[in-house]
Amino acid sequence: MESLENISSPSRRAFLAGGAAAGLGAVLAACTSSGSQQAATPATKVNMKAELEKPASITFWSWVPGIDKQVAIFESQYPNIKVNLVNAGQGAAEYTKLRTALGAGRGAPDVVQIEYLEIPTFVLGNKLLDLAPYGAAALRPLFVDWVWGQVATGGQVYAIPQDSGPMGMLYRKDIFDKYGISVPATYAEFAAAGRKLHQAAPGVTITNLASNDPNVFLGLVWQAGGRPFTSVNKGTMGIGLDDGAAQKVAAYWEPLIKDGIVSTAPDYTTAWYNGLATGEYATWLTAAWGPLFLSEEAASSTGKWRVAPLPQWTSGASVSGNNGGSTTAVTAQTASPAAAAEFAMFINTNPACAKLFSEPPQYLFPTLKSVLASSSFLDGALPFYGGQQVNREFASISTTVDTGFTWSPFEDEINTSFTDTVGAVMADRGDLLGAISTWQSTVTRYATGEGIKVS
């Protein structure tokens, strides 16, 4: 069943490339024996040259629009390998099918697009192939450091980064100018600007913190230094959704929401798009995929928007969080591991493929250092942002993303329980600090029920 937002805006997740980014850590250490379908991972390096000369046919699931172009580039370079591209749905829709196929023992694709935050889930069940023996470990220097930390742990590499979503602030220059507000650099300034704006224009809020979007909230917790999860190790993991950083974030937003200075409308709905376009929200705290997305969804507000880093907790600091981004992984079911691994590595590192990812209609924010440093990517100026070089802003933000953030092996549960606890309280303008502790206990209860000891 599609949700309303997905029907009214089918391309949304395509731009966003889904949720948020993930750290792996020692999730792997806890691999259970239940998913014993792992393909025999060679202990030593595979002779790729010999392997790739054998004819192979692989299936690739991805929801990136126009990714057939990258597939074509790969096929022209590797004429022996046939790639069968399938769009099995975006995000959760794809994972449901993937889990079913992996659980059934057959029918899963060889190569699959998954978001960073889902990697631990699939690694815990031994569903993903370690790509290190196929030469993936050598790719490490090509990628932004914190991104690599999301896909690799110890000597293992479980996916190749495709795109990311470092967070920044899109703001309405016209609204700020009209009410004499300077761009807030710290959260204290942001709150003061919000109160000033609320007095001058009660119909406008400084931002809309969507009550249905755990990824934005967790992105802000990430920025504040929160580490809600430690990886599963010997059946034990840490859960701290109400840790110090989360409490700081909750305590900050609670009064702003209570006083109506910040609104909490669900995002990616018609009303929300309209709010962005007509100036109901003075800022949108979003990820690097946001700017191009906004320029299409709120086209009527062209020229009024600008980009800045997220407000900071300490004056003079520059720290960001991440929201979104995908990887390319190889499933343990594959019959052609070498061809599948080569494909995953190729489409994410080949310069022509990488360029396609960063351009319309794919709009994915790159994770390759080479693209992030290339002038053709950085110099692009968008009229929607008054000619500002948006990519340059986000490229510099990308280097400030706090490292070491780890995801849980049950992110879907994290998402539903967020909306039922924290989201519901946000929408009700209630006790946010109490809500994160309810969230914590809900998730802890779930983890315990799943046989995980919570330390």
Binding site: M1, E2, S3, L4, E5, N6, I7, S8, A30, T32, S33, S34, A92, T96, R99, L124, G125, S211, N212, V232, G235, T264, A265, P266, Y268, T269, T270, A271, N274, G275, P409, F410, D412, E413, N415, T416, T419, D420, G423, A424, V425, M426, A427, D428, Y446, G449, E450, G451, I452
Partner: protein, 305 residues
């Protein structure tokens, strides 16, 4: 002699019986493969519990024991029960009124009206929910703008207290026409002599409607009530579609029992528990249907006495 006849009849019956099995076989095969099989498998699943760590274990009735004390499930059942109590009487009353009006033969364009009232039922419920969702949408929704334009207060369609009536309105819009057709068909099946006799006895159209037509609608009413019990307790499409626009405070992931089972199975990876919830919901619907039938038959007995 008689024995021979009886034997012949029995043989003929057996032959008939055999052909009967052949004729119903296509249905029975599909029924077994598509209904009984999945049902049995779901029940089998509901007896286990699967964990991220520790694998799958047999828990017997454990999931059912958890479910009957699960506040998320119980509040969902209470919500659809109150939905049933409020929405269904309104919908059926409207359907009866429309059916009586159509049957009275005093309407100007009866065929057009009949079709117009029935058309919403032909709209898939997902489409209906999307359509009403955009009408309800705060600030930019058509309903809100019209009410605001004529100076009336705009109800909070998507607020926690407003969402149930909002969805009840969608369901009423969707199913009034369907129920009306059932009532209308029942009215058309009444013998005209009854009306003639009533008219000779001096009954006007209103008296005929109240004293003759309405009591004769009882079997149709029982039928529509049973359909409504099933439909109300399985409420899913409308809240699922509206959840994103209305937000988590209005529609939680366990807002109705079906929505809860869906969330458990497809987002929380608790297929086994979801199967148990589904079976319990089936039991609740069975009991609801039973109550409707018992009440109906006791009313009939009292009416006959």
């Amino acid at each position: 002699m008689t024995g021979q006849v009886a034997g012949k009849q029995a043989r003929r019956l057996t032959r008939h019986g055999k052909w009967g099995y052949v004729f119903v076989a296509p249905f029975m095969i599909m029924f077994a493969a598509m209904v009984l099989g999945p049902l049995g498998y779901a029940f089998y699943l509901s007896l286990f519990s699967q964990h991220l760590i520790g694998g799958t274990v047999f828990v017997g009735m454990g999931n059912y024991v958890d479910a009957v004390t699960d506040p998320a499930f119980l509040s969902g059942v209470a919500r659809v029960a109150s939905f049933f109590l409020i929405q269904v009487p309104v919908m059926l009353a409207l359907a009866v009124v429309f059916a009586l009006l159509l049957d009275s033969g005093r309407l100007l364009a009866p065929k057009f009206l009949r079709l117009a009232l029935f058309v919403p039922y032909a709209v898939p419920s997902v489409v209906a929910a999307i359509m009403w969702g955009s009408l309800y949408s705060p600030r930019i929704g058509a309903l809100g703008q019209v009410l605001h334009g004529i100076g009336l207060p705009v109800p909070g369609f998507f607020t926690p207290s407003g969402i149930l009536p909002s969805i009840a309105n969608i369901v009423t819009w969707e199913f009034t026409g369907y129920n009306m057709i059932i009532f209308y068909a029942a009215l058309r099946a009444l013998p005209p002599e009854l009306y003639e006799a009533a008219a000779i006895d001096g009954a006007g159209p209103l008296v005929i409607a109240l004293r003759i037509k309405l009591p004769r609608l009882r079997p149709a009413l029982v039928l529509t009530l049973i359909f409504s019990v099933i439909g109300s307790f399985q409420l899913f499409n409308e809240p699922n579609v509206l959840a994103s626009a209305a937000g988590p405070a209005a529609i939680s992931s366990s807002w109705t029992p079906n929505l809860y089972a869906y969330t458990l199975a497809f987002s929380d990876n608790q297929v086994n528990y979801a199967a148990a919830i589904s079976f319990l919901l089936g039991f609740v619907i069975f009991m609801g249907t039973l109550i409707v039938m018992l009440v109906a038959s006791s009313v009939r007995r009292r009416a006959a006495a």
